[in-house]
């Protein structure tokens, strides 16, 4: 009973650990510190946006605009990040603000217009990309100050600065979800909106927060991406929303709302990251990588599922 409980609770983490073990058997490079840091750095952008969309999905919504918002905030932040222009905090704050604002707009459309989140954020996805193109006239914005470059490239105690940001975002997000009132409300709304309303929860306020926070984290990802690739690119991050959502879902967040953790999303992002990494390390040809990637993602969840199935035969 107890070990079953562990299996069902940490199922996907166990699958991930198994994956790591297999990977390290397959390639001697995999477990090297440098490579592990690589993987972490590589997943940071998706994972952070993933934490945001985890909030949104738990609340019963979805966000398709992530990739576009990453691009939009990236180019806007980039345009304030030239050397000798502003202190680095300016592009950062502007990027975060723009991100949060777009989230607030999506949230408002959803809450006040009673538009399904899929449509509202689809609209945002298309429009924000257009705005990014208009803002840059389609060309990347480059030439950053040293301190802006540091965000995506710098090391602190030999570990990329980005990874600290990843961990801080993880902790903050976890903390909000698990230990604050609003966190409880997010689960409640996604679990049973009607019940949340009759319990006196301000659904409007909570959802506006959720989408703004999601936007904020997309903004953070946008800043990180711009700094990492040394360019604010209007067409960057196309399709990142799918990776972010997939990370959440692989990590156990339910698309019907009410269930999920950011910790799970991190594991989900790691599974995707490790997969990309090990397939590259093993020099699997790119086309086959795609085929395998699809199969392994499904396989990982299947493995997780088989374990949970045993735990609870009457689980329907």
């Amino acid at each position: 009973m107890n070990y079953r409980h562990i299996l069902s609770r940490y199922g996907i983490t166990i699958v991930f650990v198994a994956m790591v073990i297999v990977a390290s058997i397959l390639s001697p490079y995999f477990l090297q510190l440098g490579n592990i840091i690589n993987v972490l750095r590589q997943i940071t952008i998706i994972a952070i946006a993933g934490f945001g969309v985890t909030f949104i999905i738990i609340s019963g919504g979805i966000d398709l605009a992530i990739g576009s918002i990453i691009a939009l905030t990236g180019v806007i932040a980039a345009s304030f990040a030239h050397p000798n222009q502003f202190p680095v905090i300016v592009p950062i704050l502007i990027g975060l603000l723009v991100g949060a604002l777009t989230g607030l707009i999506s949230g408002s459309i959803i809450v006040f217009g009673k538009i399904p989140p899929f449509i509202a954020t689809l609209g945002m996805m298309i429009s924000a990309r257009g705005l990014a193109l208009i803002y840059t006239e389609g060309k990347p914005i480059t030439n950053f100050s040293k301190s802006f470059d540091f965000i995506g490239e710098g090391l602190v105690f030999n570990i990329p600065f980005m990874i600290y940001i990843l961990l801080i975002t993880l902790c903050v997000s976890h903390f909000i979800l698990r230990h604050t009132k609003i966190g409880k409300y997010i689960y409640a709304i996604g679990g049973n909106e009607q019940a949340a309303i009759v319990s006196g929860i301000n659904v409007t306020k909570t959802l506006l927060f959720v989408y703004s926070y999601g936007g904020l984290l997309s903004g953070l990802s946008g800043i990180l991406l711009a700094s990492r690739i040394s360019a604010g690119h209007p067409t960057a991050a196309v399709g990142y929303e799918l990776d972010a959502i997939a990370s959440a879902v692989i990590g156990g967040t339910s698309l019907s709302g009410g269930i999920g953790t950011v910790w799970g999303t991190l594991i989900g992002a790691l599974i995707i990251g490790v997969l990309n990494n090990i397939l590259d390390l093993l020099h699997v040809s790119a086309y086959w990588q795609q085929v395998l990637k699809g199969v392994i993602i499904v396989g990982a969840i299947l493995l997780d599922r088989i374990k949970t199935l045993n735990t609870n035969e009457d689980g329907r």
């Binding site: 397959l26 390639s27 490079y29 090297q32 440098g34 490579n35 690589n38 750095r41 590589q42 952008i45 193109l133 840059t136 389609g138 060309k139 990347p140 480059t142 995506g152 490239e153 991406l225 990492r228 690739i229 040394s230 360019a231 690119h233 209007p234 067409t235 960057a236 991050a237 196309v238 990309n276 990494n277 590259d280 390390l281 093993l282 020099h283 699997v284 040809s285 790119a286 086309y287 086959w288 990588q289």
Partner: protein, 313 residues
């Protein structure tokens, strides 16, 4: 499937190679976007050349999906595997900056291919061409066909992709010399035929229908899409169509007179040369700073000559 699968065999062989012999030197090849048709021809050239060095070298191809962030990750992976040299087709010129920096810092010889990077001087060598030139050749070819005046529409590549930006620049460069050529409309066909076709169809239903004299497409796929739209309304002999890449299919249409202009870039040649340079760099042989393989404007009568450059199935 009849589409055969060399990629497949290659893939599994490579896998064996890593696990069995670690003695072979490894060259990492970063393709900008493997699902891009043009780049798949470069890859063909690379693979053909790579065969020659099979016994000593292992070549690892990775797909950058037109995403600098993905490419940066791949560069990092290569660095942590300590590959002996890297060939890079950047998906994006500006976004390639940290990629180049990191590889150079790791002391790995870096061969640029096809698309320029932001800091050209950091490359060990560059094999390719200057993308702006392709736009210039295309526009010049069309301007000549138009006799220096007329109305054009521009089908652009995926916004923000390096070739889209540079080709647009090249086109602008030429247009600045022709005050009688007017751009009536521009939109993106996202490098792809279906999109190019739909956009063109819509233009052809609008007031532009009788005004368009030429379609300037950033690549042949979109040019073919536009051609199909123009053909459907029976205006093929009135509207001049041009693209870039000189794909086999485009060359066929050029011969048939359905399109007027395309620009050849020696994909296979670039690919071969890049691999050759990478091998030389590992062996410590001396390399020039640049091997320019310029674009060439293709005239209909030369179509067969260019067709012959593609490996036959």
């Amino acid at each position: 499937g009849k589409g055969s699968n060399t990629a497949d065999k290659e893939g599994s062989k490579n896998t064996n190679a890593t696990t069995t012999s670690t003695k072979k030197k490894v060259i990492g090849v970063m393709i900008g976007d493997m699902s891009n048709q043009f780049q798949s021809y470069i890859m063909d050239g690379m693979k053909a050349e790579a065969k020659k060095y099979e016994d000593e070298f292992e070549f690892v191809f990775v797909d950058g999906k037109f995403d600098s962030n993905v490419q940066l990750s791949q560069a990092e992976n290569f660095i942590s595997q300590k590959v002996n040299a890297i060939v890079l087709i950047p998906g994006d010129k500006e976004g390639s900056k940290p990629i180049v920096d990191r590889i150079v810092k790791a002391g790995i010889p870096l061969i640029g291919c096809n698309t320029k990077v932001a800091d050209m001087e950091k490359l060990t060598t560059y094999v390719g061409s200057d993308t702006i030139q392709s736009g210039e050749l295309l526009m010049q070819g069309i301007a000549d066909k138009l006799g220096g005046k007329g109305n054009i529409v521009e089908l652009q590549g995926f916004y923000g992709h390096e070739p889209q930006i540079e080709r647009h620049k090249g086109i602008q460069n030429i247009l600045s010399k022709y005050s009688n050529i007017k751009v009536l409309a521009e939109n993106t066909g996202k490098w792809n035929r279906a999109e190019g076709m739909a956009v063109m169809e819509n233009w052809l239903k609008s007031d532009l229908k009788d005004k368009i004299n030429a379609v300037v497409a950033h690549n042949d796929e979109m040019a073919i899409g536009a051609m199909k739209a123009v053909e459907a309304v029976g205006l093929l002999d009135k509207i001049i169509i041009g693209g870039i890449d000189a794909t086999p299919e485009m060359l066929k249409y050029l011969k048939e007179g359905k399109v007027e202009v395309t620009v050849f870039q020696d994909a296979v040649g670039q690919g071969k040369k890049a691999i050759e340079c990478a091998v030389k760099a590992v062996k410590g042989e001396k390399l020039e700073k640049e091997y320019m393989i310029p674009y060439e404007l293709v005239k209909p009568e030369d179509a067969d000559k260019y067709l012959a450059k593609y490996p036959t199935k």
